[in-house]
């Protein structure tokens, strides 16, 4: 028999204190402005401890975590399929960029830059952690950090297209906000008509999710099958221009809304993210400009 625990009064005092501590932390973190939260140093400290454990866990148990993807398919076929898929992805990407290039005018030579993909410095990274649906956000941890040149606001891609942007980084790990997160907005343009718009993350807490495109000019409309590319911003942060994002799969307009919205299916399969690339700079002199931006 174990000894009788502390009296209920003391338990209640402990509970009261802890709840108060939680409410204080929530208040401190929720009220932060543009200058960053007072909780950020603590977040960084925990990331430095837990991040490497995540990396270690993901690497050590890679054979185990690969099991779900092996179900229902023969190993040999899978390898062959992956090869064909990679080839297909490369060809598709070339085609998309070519399509965009055929429509470009003199001002939009940023997309031509993207065509020369060799001009980008890309840091390869492995996804080692994913935020659960219980947290209602779509973020992942990658195993490359400031030591590899990864810094906040850099663009993250994979073989299919845009993945997201870096939110924060420690020396060995970084947190990436996926474009399907409901907090994400990507300035984008239609590959066909060059019209500008804003691409918002979905409401879905899981799965692939569709993105919502709001066109700036409400006199034009998107067509089903149009390719959506990033529009880019000054110094290439947070998103570099001309990166393929997705295809328009539906168009929706209501009299109540000024702008028309289009549903966009992203090229990237967010449920099976594995190897991603962080664009840390380009051969066109963008390196320092891109990497020196430290804001969120």
């Amino acid at each position: 028999m174990r000894p009788v625990g502390p009296e209920p009064g003391r338990s209640r005092a402990v509970l009261g204190l802890l709840v108060l501590a939680c409410v204080t932390i929530i208040t401190l973190d929720a009220r932060h402005g543009a200058r960053g939260s007072p909780v950020d140093p603590l977040r960084y400290a925990v990331a430095r401890v837990v991040g490497p454990v995540e990396v270690g866990g993901a690497r050590a148990l890679k054979p185990l975590t690969d099991i779900p993807s092996y179900f229902g398919s023969v190993h040999r076929l899978r390898a062959e399929y992956a090869e064909v898929q990679a080839e297909n992805a490369a060809l598709l990407q070339r085609l998309r960029v070519a399509q965009a290039n055929s429509h470009r005018n003199a001002e939009v030579d940023s997309i031509a830059r993207f065509a020369d993909t060799a001009g980008y410095h890309v840091v390869q990274a492995q996804v080692v952690g994913m935020g659960p649906a219980q947290s209602f956000s779509r973020t992942v941890t990658i195993d490359a950090g400031t030591r590899a040149g990864v810094a906040p606001d850099l663009t993250v891609i994979d073989a299919d297209g845009l993945v997201g942007r870096v939110l924060s980084a420690t020396p060995t790990t970084a947190t990436v906000l996926l474009i399907v997160d409901s907090d994400s907005t990507v300035g984008s343009r239609l590959g066909d008509s060059m019209e500008l718009g804003f691409l918002d993350g979905g409401r879905d807490v899981s799965g692939d999710g569709t993105l919502q495109l709001r066109l700036v000019d409400h006199t034009v409309s998107a067509r089903i099958g149009d390719t959506v590319l990033t529009w880019g911003s000054r110094n290439g942060a947070p998103y570099l221009p001309g990166i393929p994002v997705g295809t328009v799969v539906g168009v929706h307009s209501s009299p109540a809304e000024l702008t028309e919205t289009a549903q966009v299916r992203p090229f990237v399969d967010f449920s099976s993210l594995d190897v991603v690339g962080v664009i840390t700079g380009s051969a066109f002199g963008g390196h320092t400009e891109i990497a020196s931006r430290g804001t969120r």
Partner: protein, 170 residues
Amino acid sequence: VTAWLRAAVVGALIIVTVAVQISIFSHFSIDGVVPDLAMLVVVAAALVRGPAYAALVGFAAGLVLDLAPPTDHTAGRWALGLVLVGYLTGLARHEGRQSVPATVLVVAAGAFIGTSVFALTGLILQEPGVSVPSAFEVVPIAVVYDVVLTPFVIPLALMLFRRLEPAETW
């Protein structure tokens, strides 16, 4: 000295549990929902040591869950959820062995309280992505997944907390 050692063991347990939850169980998610391993550890602490101790473990585990990458939500939300889980499930503790159905019930209640408090604080703070329909979608899956993992996690965690129990409770 031994008190510090005990605290260090619990701290290491929390960090490893959270890391496993984020890096390994994300591959075995059901509709994106992963089992709340940290919550199971808090429930085990509650069943062995009672409400005050479990609330403290819940606070520590929740804070790590709030701050570990890749989280982006307001810190303190999981901490609040797990403090309440620890305290309330701790009230269910009684002398002697817990029956299996009772343990499953306590785990289900804990999972419901934890995920609901987290979703509720998100609604109050108007965090992006949190909505009543998405909460209704996620909470039941979380409860079921936690109950499924109970036979694998709870006995181990119970054993560990029994061994960590000092001769006289504080």
